[in-house]
Point group: C2
Chain length 234, copies 2
Amino acid sequence: MSASSSPLAEFVVGVDNVIFSVDTDQNRLLVLLVRRQQFPFAGYWSLPGTLVRQGESLEAAAYRTLAEKIRVNNLYLEQLYTFDEPAGERRETPRRYLSVSYFALVRFADAELIAAAESPVQWFALNACPDLAFDHSKILAYGHRRLCNKLEYSPVAFDVLPEYFTLNDLYQFYSAVLGANFADYSNFRSRLLKLGILQDTQQKVIRGAGRPATLYRFNREAFAPLKDKPLVFV
Amino acid sequence: MSASSSPLAEFVVGVDNVIFSVDTDQNRLLVLLVRRQQFPFAGYWSLPGTLVRQGESLEAAAYRTLAEKIRVNNLYLEQLYTFDEPAGERRETPRRYLSVSYFALVRFADAELIAAAESPVQWFALNACPDLAFDHSKILAYGHRRLCNKLEYSPVAFDVLPEYFTLNDLYQFYSAVLGANFADYSNFRSRLLKLGILQDTQQKVIRGAGRPATLYRFNREAFAPLKDKPLVFV
DNA sequence: ACAAAAGTGTTCCAGGTACACCCATGG
DNA sequence: CCATGGGTGTACCTGGAACACTTTTGT
């Protein structure tokens, strides 16, 4: 804010998105990557990103990047972290680069990838992810931690599940993200039901053998008073 | 990353610090503010901030701002959030401004304010804080939430308490930040002691009337294995 | 002797864990 | 009638909340 003794840096600001989705059928946590075509790191996979344009907010840039790669109706998005270029790699000419990363969770069912010949885009299972360009592996790891926390303390899952879901869908969702090392199914059931935020539509759904499952939906009104209370979903 | 159809924004990047400290004697949570002298918001108090210089990392800029205002040996610092200028207030000429905020906690005992005639700097009790310049009140609120969370899930308190402290010091510290509406003293005691991360130096200290208190110190070795386990301090 | 501060112990209860078990459907 | 997945119930245990009580100092 003060007149400085040494010259100010001029920045170009980029936005990089960590876009997660969960394939509940296959019980896999997915991340969206694009294949770079240009120098540097040509041929490497990287997080979808863009540079911020004049008059465009950071968040708008994040949404634009997302919209260029997939068509999706239901998603959750929040800012993740701002990464400096490491001092070593920093090329001060002509302008310095700053990456503001965003974290998104999208509904898998209606996420439709926009295939472009020049920039292939693809879901990767998180545990079968290649080395990424730049410091994107670091950003991805950071995003994964955030995802786990979000899931435990806030109802993001419901932004991204189908409107009507079974308790088993919900359980699959959680275990895909958190890695199967959490509460067993029946305890998960009772905890969720006791919260009183799931509405029992009397409908049943049959999937192969076994007893039909009840369809539930998330009850936003019932959840509202619990917002930012310290409640735990797993 | 792609050649864009509309021109890129050029940024100047600033760093704004939310610097907290705790006066355990008076049981007050403090935040460091500076009084602005220039337009805009002349006369208002604001968070200490600076513009990022060429070749200077974000974090380095945060440390520099801190060092310009106070001399302190023990502190904790981490990035908080990156704030866009709201679309309304955004003046596109000549360059757009981006604020990366940092969050710091410093040891009160050895924090020595650097008084400069041109820019007064002062501790404010958080609950007696004036309206701040720009959107700094919003940033401050965000920082306070982060502080509360950090305190509950990580041992930042020990970065900032004196090396030797009584359990009551620790309790005062927590209640100054979290606002006295948490566990009572004796439960706090037993929980902390049971964690096994406090080392009982056999020394006692007498402060006025009452039974002498045991001095403890934080045992980093004992804590290491518990790192990033989900453990709760309050 | 009494107040003040440190420190210990006890009782009660909510909520998590780990199971065993019952229910409804397809093959 | 059995395998499969959905759903319920129970017994056990940990850990927090509240609070009574003891210990050691100053005045």
